[in-house]
Symmetry: C2
Subunit: 209 residues, 2 copies
């Protein structure tokens, strides 16, 4: 399979926005749209939309614009959203349990397929539709659930260890919520969502103007 020329995270994240915007248009029955109008409606940049899209093919029609249905489909394929994407949550504390319920609803194709924790009191408890299983069985849980993406919601101190366990269990990508700087595996794309960093950024703006 040909390795596409590296696409930046910024571009990729905008593709998600475009897709979301286009789906709104779809619901409104809009059939075609120009980059200019798309930009105007959703506060985006028209030139950037075109530049972003053209990296993946010529999806537009000169003089006309883009067909909404077609572009939705292509973006959805590009982002790999046509297949189910089972998730496994590692760490069923407050955040893990909330995500188990939250990601269950309206986040297709992502579906929480399993959850593990190392607290014996939690094992066997049910959250949403998943039953909590022991961290020691992570590899088996990953195999059985066919989970591809791991959600890491353990305390910072346990993050690296559980990250490594996910990698060893054969997971293909990881979304980390622990406020920790991970030593990541090169072959496992990893994103960290660090709430504290966001709060501290806002705090900075509060402190100075």
């Amino acid at each position: 399979m040909s390795r596409s020329p590296d696409v930046s995270t910024l571009t990729l994240n905008r593709l998600s926005l475009y897709l979301r915007s286009l789906r709104h248009l779809q619901e409104q029955g809009v059939r075609r749209i120009s980059s200019q109008e798309l930009a105007a409606r959703f506060h985006l940049s028209a030139a950037q939309i075109r530049k972003d899209l053209v990296q993946f093919g010529e999806f537009g029609i000169r003089g006309v614009g883009y067909e909404v249905d077609r572009l939705c489909l292509r973006l959805s394929e590009l982002l790999g959203l046509e297949n189910e994407r089972p998730l496994v949550i590692v760490g069923m504390g407050n955040l893990g349990r909330a995500l188990a319920r939250y990601l269950h609803f309206n986040t297709s194709p992502f579906r929480v397929a399993a959850g593990v924790d190392n607290d014996p009191d939690k094992i066997g408890k049910r959250v949403g539709t998943v039953v909590i299983r022991p961290s020691s069985e992570l590899a088996r849980v990953v195999r059985e659930s066919r989970a591809e993406i791991g959600i890491l919601t353990v305390p910072a101190a346990a993050a690296q260890e559980n990250y490594d366990a996910l990698v060893a269990a054969g997971i293909s990508a990881i979304l980390n919520f622990a406020p920790a700087r991970l030593r990541v595996a090169a072959e496992v794309p990893t994103k960290t969502v660090d709430l504290r960093i966001h709060l501290e950024e806002l705090s900075y703006y509060l402190a100075r103007g």
Copy 2:
């Protein structure tokens, strides 16, 4: 008060990382550290550390490095982390409730001071230490709790409306979890954490390699 030359989000977020790293060193009893060693230990870039820091003053000693205690203090001041920062959570669904508990522990100076929801069944219920109050009283809740930062955890469809309500209630900064493109108030720094976008990025990497 002098408006500092604009500092980028990227720099600001790294300052948070530096502070966190330095606190680890502090606990280990390290008194001084060079940018090079700091970079090596936490997988950062030495030149970038220096560039980032020097925007805010000359904190280092040539030929020696940085004093850990002093730099911690300066960064903490810079980021406005010396004062309590009360938070108000708008939308006490799964995510809101989880954050109410999660942000309660070990996230000083951030402290969840209040939570509101518009579901009558939830009003008066207690989550962690906060009692859920009605969204209609948001302005009063903000005033009484002295909340400066609002955490927006409502469904996408209700995001703009609740965002506007937070602004009207006099909040100073907002952290938004709703997967929605907000029309933001220029004077209210706003950050969005969009889980779906992160998942879709990972999905892209799974689809191509």
